[in-house]
């Protein structure tokens, strides 16, 4: 089959190269510019929505996913059994757990975490750890994540999470 090179060169015009279908009033810019400037002036007149963060705290929803907390049972022992489910579910790999044998006097408990660290810098606050937990041992408070000066301070350890 012969190919007609002339025909091949003819492409339909690309969308942005087609003649504009805008009306003339749009195409002389000026009225539209005035319209846009009125819009920005209206916004200028309105009250700013900024929150002065460290002094003012934002109001968050009841279901806000903030910093984590490790829960305790009726006897005051942590509920966590170091099953690593949260660490496994975590998409950001921000949970680091090391397990140890539970004290013998804790009835019906074999394993507790010796290290339970959440790197708040890596955490994306998705709540998967809470969903994954089989013991309801981790939950999210509605505390807005805090700001610190060093990276080390962002790694929350067992004590901090239990008392959060």
């Amino acid at each position: 089959m012969s190919v007609d090179m002339k025909k091949m060169d003819v492409h339909p015009p690309r969308p942005e190269m087609r003649p504009s279908r805008l009306s003339w009033i749009t195409r002389i810019y000026i009225p539209m510019i005035l319209k846009g400037m009125l819009i920005s002036l209206r916004e200028f007149m309105r009250k700013p929505v900024t929150i002065q963060y460290p002094e003012q705290k934002p109001k968050v929803s009841e279901r806000f996913r903030g910093e984590h907390r490790l829960t305790k049972d009726a006897e005051g022992h942590m509920k966590c059994v170091a099953c690593y489910m949260c660490a496994t579910a975590c998409p950001a790999h921000c949970i680091n757990i090391e397990a140890q044998a539970a004290p013998p006097e804790w009835d019906g408990r074999d394993k507790i975490p010796s290290v339970f660290e959440i790197d708040m810098l890596k955490c994306i606050y998705c709540g998967y750890c809470v969903e994954a937990c089989p013991k309801e041992a981790i939950e999210m408070t509605n505390k807005v994540p805090k700001v610190y000066q060093t990276r080390q301070e962002f790694i929350y350890g067992l004590n901090k999470l239990l008392n959060n």
């Binding site: 059994v81 170091a82 099953c83 690593y84 489910m85 660490a87 496994t88 397990a99 140890q100 044998a101 408990r109 074999d110 394993k111 089989p134 013991k135």
Partner: protein
Amino acid sequence: MKQVNLKIDGKDVTVPADWTVIKACHQNDVDVPHYCYHPDLSIAGNCRICMVGVKGMPRPVVACAQPVAEGMEVSTTGKDVEEARKGVMEFLLINHPLDCPECDQSGECKLQDYSYDHGRDHGRFHEEKVRKSKATMGPHVKYWGSRCIVCTRCVRFTEEVSGGGELGVIYRGDRSEIALFPGKNLDNPLSMNNVDICPVGALVSSDFLFQSRVWHLHSNPSVCADCSVGCNSRVDLDAKNQIKRIVPRQNDAVNKSWMCDHGRLSFDYVHENRLQKPKVHGKDATWKEARRAALDLLSAPGSVALISAWNTNEAMQSIKNFLSSENPSTRIFGYGNTVEADLVFPGFTISGDKNPNCAGMKQVLGIGDANASLKALAAEKDSIGCLLLVNNIPNFQITAELKSILDRSQNVVLLDFATGDLLRYGNVAVALPTLTTFEKSGSFVNRTGLTQTFDAVMEPVTYGMPETEIVAALRGDRVAVGNQR
């Protein structure tokens, strides 16, 4: 052996006449759930999960206890079979504590797998569950009674393979559990196999206890280097490149499904006391400096190479080739760990030859008895120009013979992965870091003459290199500095 023809799920198969139905199914890639059945143990038939339908039989039969027969038609699916398995699963879980979050077995637990495949989605048992004892069975094995389903794999293992018969079943009915016979302790060198064969989390390793969840480990196949049996092993590592445990891989020609405790537990030397960088006269050096220094020394007249039986065939061959071109007058001797008597169990033998590659040494270097070779060298009195010592034996202790050889060597070039006795002994001029068997590939010849290759299972933890690469680099240096001979 006579062969019989049968149908499994409509597929025609031919198997030896003395096989059971479950074996025929597994060999033909048809999965049949099982707890008490183990290919290397006797048949017990007490877990009842391996129900299959056989045409002509009024109800499902247990596949592990049913011999194959000519013309048999087996179905591993179907309403009857599923109902039967579902019922068995429900009974097995009646007294199970469901403490998966705390259980080390979870992730590789047959109860979890089969419950997911065949069980109910909820329990109907509202009464109080039976709580059973927790016990320490031996130095490496702990027992959680409540999780036990009394499949008696462990009991049969201690009777048939390790032969001590330490374990038995006590009590009856839903209170039955595994216990040690009075005055006995599960401390035989094969005790940790009980952990492997336990299909649930009842017997767990106290060395691996709470160390990691199994789904966070990644596994690589390897060959155990701790004796001349050469057990096929699987090395499990965590995300930080740390070996967490070693378990056997089934190989009927070598180790069946077993492995000794020593082989499972000796991996600490991979992470401790490693020679991180090359050393020249005790000081850290770059690889290039160290290799040039070694090259200078190795061309001394009257040199001797002393190669341990822990080296791979490839390492031995490449060193031999290199020396024959570099300094053909170099004589090669061998050495190794001392050889003791074999430990023989009814179903397994642990070799007394604690070197992985004595047979390989004979094939590659022509040294039949490594330690006799060392004695022959020790008996000489001449001064040695340069001693090339290729050690790679973990936790090596200098023997008197080796001491005398080191004493009359003017220089020692050491290839080793550890900062052990040899490096401390003093007159090591150049030390080049090598890698452990876990970090390099190669092959060993086991005592039956079987050559087994293995690959690196982990990233090297030091700047060491395999001997073959060191030799290749030395050859490159020889070309670079010119032939000085």
